[in-house]
């Protein structure tokens, strides 16, 4: 059905084109993004994303603070998955300094990162539902996300910007009873995935709206540098947790769900969405294994000097956040402050391909495609 629209012979009904600004104040741009859209009736002929409304000079700020003080800034990049951003920076710093962190720290990091991945995917699924007009799944997702946020509040006192994973360790150990609470949450949460499927995933209207829409072919995705669930939705089995394992991800058994084109074409909105749903299950699996194997005793910090002074040199390290490959490029000149820090944002690359995949679709589809890419403007603008 969607194919019909995009290949419609519009020469006969060609009308005047109109420029439409979607955003920066718009309910469905997932932040302050402006999409300048050229429309011919309902059909979109060109999309130009304008970013920078949330630019806070992240990279420049980092040059003026010590290495430890960078961590709160990483929180504010991808504010939906702060743990994963902390994790990425910590991994990069440890690579730069050659620090080996205790076994327990690895487990704690994996547990919180996967929990945060679940929370982040909740937001992605829920808001994607909102974008295609389903209101209820959004609140179902937020009901369950709330439980994760409560867990994090118990863990580090913050609900959104955690500042929990530090260079060489984590800020503090799990509080008493936390492990049991996580188990409890996982038991509660696993059956809920089926609920989302019943309510949204296999809804006929939802499939009509998302299947075959906004197809991102694998070669286009790779040439744009798209990563994470968006790339996997296009059928490419690429996950840094498996392909370039960092921390202790090689110790766990989990699958990499990829888009199969079950409802339409490989790489359509539905595939990207369904990859996220299935990643929820995988994250639950990883969290369970990490909890089972976690050493209960031990220190949560590696031995580090009071002031971090990495040796001269540079490092590029990347980790898998809920949005894809998050890269940190850090240049050290031996001083306590980074000489240069560059963040490679997965959401930025995802947004860059929107014109390619959303051109020729209708306004409603552009919103759906944008939702399926799951962008976070904090990370794009930095």
């Amino acid at each position: 059905m969607g194919i019909e629209t995009s290949t419609l012979d519009r020469s006969a009904i060609h009308g005047e084109e109109m420029v439409l600004n979607i955003g920066p104040q718009h309910p469905s741009t997932h932040g302050v993004l402006r999409l300048q859209v050229l429309t011919d009736g309902e059909i979109v002929t060109k999309i130009t994303p304008y970013i920078g409304y949330l630019h806070r000079c992240f990279e420049k700020h980092c040059e003026n603070v010590t290495y430890e003080q960078v961590i709160p800034y990483t929180d504010r990049c991808d504010y939906v998955a702060s743990m994963n951003n902390n994790f990425g920076y910590a991994v990069a710093m440890e690579e730069l300094m050659g620090i080996e962190v205790p076994e327990k720290v690895h487990h704690i990091r994996v547990i919180v990162a996967e929990l945060n991945r679940i929370a982040s995917h909740h937001l992605a699924i829920g808001t994607f539902g909102l974008d295609v007009g389903a209101f209820t799944p959004f609140l179902y997702c937020f009901r369950d996300r709330e439980r994760i946020l409560d867990l994090f509040e118990l863990l580090c006192g913050a609900r959104l910007l955690y500042n929990y994973i530090w260079v060489g360790g984590v800020s503090h150990d799990f509080p008493i009873g936390f492990v049991e609470k996580v188990y409890e949450f996982l038991d509660y949460f696993e059956p809920k995935i089926q609920e989302y499927n019943d309510l949204l995933t296999f809804n006929k209207i939802f499939i009509e709206r998302t299947a075959d829409v906004g197809v991102l072919p694998a070669d286009v995705a790779i040439s744009y540098g798209v990563s994470g669930p968006n790339l996997r939705g296009s059928g490419v089995k690429w996950d840094l947790r498996k392909n370039e394992p960092y921390s202790i991800y090689n110790k766990f058994e989990f699958d990499i769900p990829i888009g199969t084109g079950a409802m339409g074409t490989v790489g359509d909105c539905w595939d990207r969405y369904y990859v996220r749903i299935r990643e929820l299950e995988e994250s639950v699996k990883i969290t369970r294994q990490a909890l089972d194997q976690m050493p209960r005793e031990g220190d949560v910090h590696a031995a580090l000097p009071k002031k971090i002074r990495p040796p001269k040199g540079h490092v590029y390290s990347r980790t898998e956040t809920p949005r894809g490959d998050l890269g940190f490029y850090i240049i050290s000149d031996g001083k306590p402050k980074p000489f240069r820090l560059k963040l490679r944002s997965p959401a930025f690359t995802a947004l860059s391909c929107i014109d390619e995949i959303a051109r020729g679709w209708m306004i409603a589809d552009v919103i759906a495609i944008l939702g399926s890419l799951d962008i976070v403007l904090g990370e794009i603008d930095r």
Binding site: M1, M18, P27, E42, R143, A364
Partner: protein
Amino acid sequence: MELLLQKFSEVSFLSGIPSALLFVFAATLIAVSLFMFVAVNAIVAVYAERKISAFMQDRLGPMGQGVGLHAGKWGLLQTVADAIKLLIKEDIIPSLADRKLFILAPFILFIGAFIVFVGIPFNQHILVADFNIGVFYIIAMSSIGVIGIILAGYGSNNKWALYGAMRSAAQIISYEIPLALSLLTVIMLVGSLKMQDIIIAQHGLIWGILPNWFIFNNPFTFIAFFIFFISGVAEVNRTPFDLPEAESELVAGFHTEYSGMRWAFFFLAEYANMFIVAAMSAILFLGGWQSPIPGYMDSPAWGLFWFMGKAIFLIFVMMWFRWTFPRLRTDQLMQMCWKYFLPISFINILGVGLWDLWLN
């Protein structure tokens, strides 16, 4: 109306007043009471919508807060508070808007919904006017609203509003056709356009156990009911057909620029239209004020109860739709209307005709 005038003429102290004046008085009385009904309907429906959506989404919805009972017990006063808020809000008209059209639009939309109530029988007696073209009148008048929507979209001088209005015009005009065609099946069986005749024709039992409502009359009217109801939902722009006001795409659609009382009129009209669709479905296919057990509980008071019960149930179904389904896309909406509903409606008319011939 006739009944009211007759009652007036029986009252002795009114006998000196000329009948024309009495007519005006009666008409005003009826108009005011209908307006009250529409307003109360909107207030109750908004509260119900909030509570129903809340329960479907694992929330509580509006609740009284603490000792002061902020919005009444269980939030009962929430809608009243909202209405007061809307009344005292600043009236904003965009400087580049077409003032006349902008001001006129909500009233046209509301009038389109309001005058339909003249033709709706609430029970055996409560009916303002039982026209001999009752059904036709209702279908004709309920289409006036679309003019209001187009004016709102055009007059706002806003691209989102314009999109909403264009979508709405296409949608309402398209869905009018299957709506009217599925309604024809009932008229074919009754042989009259009068509302009361249609309801009276649904008296008794059919197939031995079921009430003789048209939904159960034959397979074709059964299908016609669903087409009628779904088209009706599309007519009143409710999810999954709420494209004209799709909040995730068009911000708020045709009423993007409206606020305060003008905005409230759009909502008054929406809930009035919802009631009309539910009421029409109930009258045409579910026996109107007829009791489900013929011969029992069919006094006028019970008639009002049955009619309102059926209508409220159907309104609940619409709310249920809204909080369950995603939204269709414009082309899918049109496809559903022209490729599926329209041919099925034609087959329905043919089928009902043959069925009627075969039985009689």
